[in-house]
């Protein structure tokens, strides 16, 4: 490192005259007596390069005359390097910003766009000038106020990360939006980083996966039904064959006058027995279709519902579905076969979700668990779907009633047998605004069985 003094002292000897490369500032105005400033590079004897900002200052006398000129030539190599770094960092930031494949916009508190990266600019197909200063919902969605599903307004207040999926019906695309506030020293939100990722394709795949899964489920159920009918047919054909043969034999014995009373008695007994056998087969088949009688336990209704909701989230892929759970009475107890009642809730949620499958907005299921009248515990599952036509309302609980292409019409009839086996009741009502609510009541409270 050359000694600091060497340049200043060496000025008179002018070892640097030939080294003046740049005059970043030439003669400047006479501010604070600055006569001129020079900015140049010197190469020292050891070949190291230093940057010098040389200034000449006039010191005026009492009558304004130039009393003397003072020259300072400080070494500003360090500052120069810092500036270069800052410039490089700015370039780096811009390049990075522009190379993010998601659309990134930086917004102020007022929703106005302060920055937009290349992806955003090309998506909006607008030059930067037309974007900057405009409200994000105007440039993005062509709206004059923030759209309801945008997470921005919320995070401005909570000052934390927020995200959501929104559907842009102008562009017919799904976006995953994430927003992060930039806070100032006081912790106030001054900017919001708004990222939008086009997830239309993955939404489509999700929907397809959901439909495929649903179909597998149905095929399985259909197969099971097929097996059941096959075994029912086989089982029932046996006693039917015997009954018919016995009856025909008896008739022939009568016709030929060879009927023996004891034989007739025996035949009738056999017919009665085979009839009972057929009845037992039908009974056991019913219990096959109905879920098996399980063990009833005492359980907290809220726990039962909560568990289903989390299972439902894990098990089903329903695009952009929102499930809200309202649990009002934490001590509400029911005496139930948990698996069966959870099956009922799943069936109702499944139907609710399926009713909103084609919807893009407001896909919301609300599940309420609350105390009902007459010591009942009530569960309500509401959706925002199309509702149920008046003439169908009376038939939806019938076995095999369905309006769906791949529906079996088993969900509700099964649910009804379960609820009724619990001494409860299940029914449906169309909501006043939109959609349907299914309710079921179960006997609540302590049961001291004798």
């Amino acid at each position: 490192m050359p000694k600091d003094g060497s340049t200043r002292n060496g000025e008179g000897r002018d070892p640097i005259a030939g080294e003046r490369k740049k005059r970043l500032r030439g003669n400047t105005a006479d501010i604070h007596g600055l006569v001129r400033g020079l900015y140049y590079r010197v190469t020292l004897a050891d070949n190291s390069i230093r940057w010098i900002a040389s200034q000449e200052r006039r010191q005026p006398g009492s009558s304004g005359e130039t009393r003397r000129l003072i020259g300072v030539s400080p070494d500003v190599t360090a500052r120069k390097e810092m500036e270069k770094k800052i410039e490089a960092a700015a370039r780096e930031w811009q390049t990075t910003f522009d190379s993010i494949p998601d659309q990134v916009m930086i917004l102020n508190r007022d929703h106005r766009v302060v920055q937009a990266n290349a992806a955003a600019r090309s998506f909006l197909n607008l030059p930067l000038k037309k974007i900057l200063g405009n409200r994000c919902y105007t440039v993005m969605h062509g709206k004059d106020r923030p759209i309801s599903t945008c997470p921005f307004p919320a995070i401005r207040e909570i000052k934390g990360h927020g995200e959501s999926d929104i559907y842009d019906d102008r562009k017919k695309k799904w976006f995953h939006i994430s927003v992060d506030p930039v806070l100032d020293d006081e912790g106030e939100t001054i900017r919001v980083v708004h990222m939008a990722r086009d997830i239309t394709e993955s939404k489509r795949i999700e929907t397809e996966t959901f439909c495929a899964r649903r179909e597998i489920l149905r095929t399985e159920r259909l197969l099971r039904m097929g097996e059941l009918t096959a075994s029912l047919a086989h089982e029932l054909n046996q006693p039917l064959t015997s009954i018919l043969s016995n009856a025909r034999a008896a008739l022939r014995f009568i016709d030929s006058g060879t009927l023996d009373m004891d034989e007739l008695k025996d035949i009738l007994k056999d017919i009665a027995n085979d009839d009972k056998r057929a009845r037992d087969i039908i009974r056991s088949l019913r219990s096959m279709i109905k879920p098996e009688e399980g063990e009833k336990v005492r359980a907290l209704l809220n726990d039962v519902v909560q568990e289903v909701v989390s299972v439902f989230h894990g098990e089903t892929v329903i695009p952009n579905l929102n499930v809200e759970t309202v649990l009002s009475d934490p001590s509400l107890e029911v005496h139930i076969d948990t698996v069966q009642i959870q099956q009922v809730v799943i069936n109702l949620m499944m139907n609710a979700a399926e009713s909103m499958l084609d919807q893009t907005e407001n896909k919301k299921i609300i599940i309420r668990a609350e105390a009902g009248d007459n010591n009942k515990a009530r569960v309500a599952v509401s959706d925002h779907g199309p509702g149920i036509a008046g003439e169908d309302l009376g038939r939806i609980f019938e076995p095999l009633f369905t309006t769906k292409r791949f529906g079996l019409g088993m969900g509700l009839s099964l649910s009804r047998s379960i609820v009724e086996a619990h001494g409860g009741r299940i029914w449906a009502e169309n909501n006043r605004d939109k959609g349907t609510t299914f309710y079921f009541d179960l006997p609540a409270g302590e049961r001291r069985d004798g």
Binding site: A230, A233, H234, E235, N237, Q238, P239, L240, T241, S242, I243, L244, S245, N246, R248, A249, A250, R252, F253, S256, I267, D270, N273, D274, R277
Partner: protein
């Protein structure tokens, strides 16, 4: 020998089916015996009279189709009526190919069953008669000397006596004498009859 009642053998693992079918067959005027499995039926001594088998397709152990195979292998053929509570077409086709006369899906009505049993018994009767006839012919052919059997083959080929004599290097008169003895031993008196009989006995023309 008095005309014996045909016997129907019912093989079914379901006791109430066995009992009711037995009754129905008796009301038709048939003799019937029941077996609760194919295995039990195979234990029974060979039945020589006419009859048929009513066989349940699906049974534990040896099932209907397998029993049919066993019986075919043992040359113990009797027409089989398959009854099944869940018939399917490929299965019935297979059974028919192997000589089942009928395939009745349960439940069947009495007339259907009666017709099937009648058909089966009739099939069995003609088969037995044909079989008995063939056996008799073979017995008669055994009576012929080797030379006579040789002559018989030439005769059924439609060769005139002269040619036969030439071929065998014997006198035409001798051939004539052989023919007379053949007709006598086989208990027939015309050439067409002889040809038919030879055909039944499986004697190939030269």
């Amino acid at each position: 020998m008095a005309e014996e009642k045909p016997t129907v053998f019912i093989i079914d693992d379901d006791p109430s089916i066995r009992k009711s079918l037995l009754r129905l067959l008796r009301s038709f005027g048939f003799e019937a015996e029941t077996f609760d499995s194919a295995e039990e039926y195979l234990e029974r001594e060979r039945y020589q009279g006419t009859g048929c088998i009513v066989l349940d397709v699906r049974m534990p152990g040896i099932d209907g189709l397998a029993l049919q195979n066993e019986l075919n292998k043992a040359d113990y053929t009797m027409p089989v009526i398959f009854v099944t509570a869940h018939g399917n077409i490929p299965m019935s086709v297979e059974a028919m190919k192997k000589g089942a006369v009928d395939f009745l899906p349960k439940p069947f009505d009495d007339n259907e069953f009666l017709q099937a049993v009648n058909r089966a018994v009739e099939t069995d009767r003609t088969a037995k008669i044909r079989f008995a006839g063939t056996r008799e012919i073979l017995r008669r052919i055994q009576r012929l000397t080797p030379r006579e059997q040789e002559v018989l083959r030439y005769v059924v080929s439609g060769m005139p006596n002269k040619q036969i004599a030439f071929r065998l290097g014997i006198a035409e008169k001798t051939v004539k004498a052989h023919r007379g003895r053949i007709m006598k031993k086989l208990e027939i008196d015309s050439l067409p009859e002889l040809t038919r009989l030879a055909e039944k006995a499986g004697i190939q023309p030269l």
